[in-house]
Symmetry: C2
Subunit: 418 residues, 2 copies
Amino acid sequence: MSATTTRELVEIDERRLLRRLDDLAQRGALAQGGIYRALYSPAWSSAMELVAGWLKEAGLFVRRDAVGNVWGRIEGSRGGRAIVTGSHIDTVRGGGALDGALGVVAGIEAVTSLWDRFGRSTRILECVAICEEEGSRFNTNFWGARAIADRLEPGEADRVRDADGMTLAEAMRSVGLDPATAAGAVRRDIDVFVELHVEQGPILEDHGPRLGVVTTIAGTAHLEVTVRGQPDHAGAMAMTRRRDALLGASAMTLAIAETAVRMGHPAVATVGTIAVEPAQVNVVPGIARFTVDARHTDPARRTELLTQIGDACKAIARERKLDVEIRTLRDRPPVTLSPRIADVLRRACLAAGMEPRDMTSGAGHDAQVLTAAANVGMLFVPSIGGRSHCPDEATTADDVVLGTRALATALRELAYQM
Amino acid sequence: MSATTTRELVEIDERRLLRRLDDLAQRGALAQGGIYRALYSPAWSSAMELVAGWLKEAGLFVRRDAVGNVWGRIEGSRGGRAIVTGSHIDTVRGGGALDGALGVVAGIEAVTSLWDRFGRSTRILECVAICEEEGSRFNTNFWGARAIADRLEPGEADRVRDADGMTLAEAMRSVGLDPATAAGAVRRDIDVFVELHVEQGPILEDHGPRLGVVTTIAGTAHLEVTVRGQPDHAGAMAMTRRRDALLGASAMTLAIAETAVRMGHPAVATVGTIAVEPAQVNVVPGIARFTVDARHTDPARRTELLTQIGDACKAIARERKLDVEIRTLRDRPPVTLSPRIADVLRRACLAAGMEPRDMTSGAGHDAQVLTAAANVGMLFVPSIGGRSHCPDEATTADDVVLGTRALATALRELAYQM
């Protein structure tokens, strides 16, 4: 059916696309470099206003939902369930200009271009700027996508706090949202969600081509490991009599990375935070506490990775006469995306003269949460040096344009069916 | 001369000694266990009031000096330069009941018993509770002893801050002290300073005897090591492409400890604090920063230890393609105590029927600073399990009594000369 009607790569306004990415990158820009748009912060509000302005300018019907996701809508001539594109507006602390932002800006550019060139869609076509994905401010994440997919936990907004002790509910009220009505964000009428995103890894850059279609998103486990030894005087306690918790944690940190290296791609394991007690220059650490982020796209290999990490920590603790406690903070299984939407995305890439690479995503994405509410597809463009979650995150302008045109082409097939 | 008059071990009031140690341990006791008497805090003021009360009760002339050290004085019948005993009143955060406290309480007990039994001394005899030694609240230490020894730095009280941003000068004013008059604490009339202290290490417990005379105090270097790699997405960046600053810091932490182990006693090296940036569970650490505390009693070996630590860090950084920067925060050479006072202490131990062990101290002490102002001696009693700077810090009652009697005996020789 529509497959034959969309073999032509859709044109977009390249200069507008790139200028808007630059404009959005100013919202939350930090003096020391990088960007921080924390959920419900002034920088976040400013970015959301910018996005809402672009949607209005395009002539879309704009609304903010009950948790602050911003939507722009074209009522399709034939109604039915909606075709949606977008990504998240928030960033990690000191993040880059593309993670989330690309999918938001490219989605608006694609829908605006389709509207300008082809008029009203047959299907309902929507852009969304999702309020939160990164979990950078509050000890929770995928807040926006989970609200859409009806996956918020009862009382979550009152329970979850930021580093200053403010609850998510209080933060919502600070931007004029009512936490009691959060369920109003649920959408049961979405057919398709398509997200363009930077790869955030080096595979497309190292091996090509310039477009990737995501088939699976890795399952992420977050662990908290607490190592308990014995605090002692750093000057007076003999080296051989110590039970130094940080020496244990250091050996574990090295072993955890080695476990993932040994298992090979796409296994990854990262110790991203660490703290010791009593944290004094002249006291042997009695407690060391660190987090582990471990991922794999294959459920069985992922379980194996977690088992090996646990075993390595326990063996080191035994050897060094330390106690170790491993707590699971989060445990999300791998998610398979829609093969049907992947085919649509592949055809769009072929329209650009390119056979895309089938990819797994090591990073988590709104897309994985929205699989609970829609048929989901995801398109990757290369990240220079594979860098992301840092100020150096970048993609060439050519790749940004190419990805956006492929996204528009896929949306044309999805929303402009005869 | 006096050597022949003091061969008898001086009696003390054991029950009063032990009860006062218990009473002092209540001041600054933490709900979770351990003690924290931070300089110029309410717990500190409360402890100083207790001490001043004991000194008054003994009939000594009591005064608080310009930085808050509390002194009790017996005017000797023949005047001259003073014989002083004491230690510090402050503790590390979550410290024990003896570090500092033993020297203060035992000093008061010894002087009180001498006064009760033998009347007025021939020499001026003083007890001192030194206001600060540990450096737990402010980013400085030996504040009290340096004030006595005229070793405060110009403007130090206005420059140095606690974790809440309060300056040392502001903290002084909060307890009624005037930072502008700090120089009033300088003493140029001290002949001898003798300090009783717990060993804080396991040597006396492991090898005996129950008394040690300190000949040298180790030189302490504090380094700050900053490791710079590359922050990356913990899910998307391949393991083999990372420049993880924490992996580098972990390898360095292990290598630093190994360097001291290889050099052997009394070399020690400790990583006591560590922090990473951006410190997010799902971001590869781009920066890791840690401190090193390294000590040796032999100046040449100490230099060698620091060189080896620096070389190890640089080699690991090279191997892992990381940058490393090593900054010296503090560099104190080893200090030799007075051989004359060591002989006095040895005779006091012999009066207890015990040949003491000559010891080096890995821990720093007020005594080392006071070598700039007096002839200094230091006596150690065992630490159970070698534990210190922790709630479990303990010494048997028998050893506390023995150490106090030996101290009193030494003070008798020093201050009751015919």
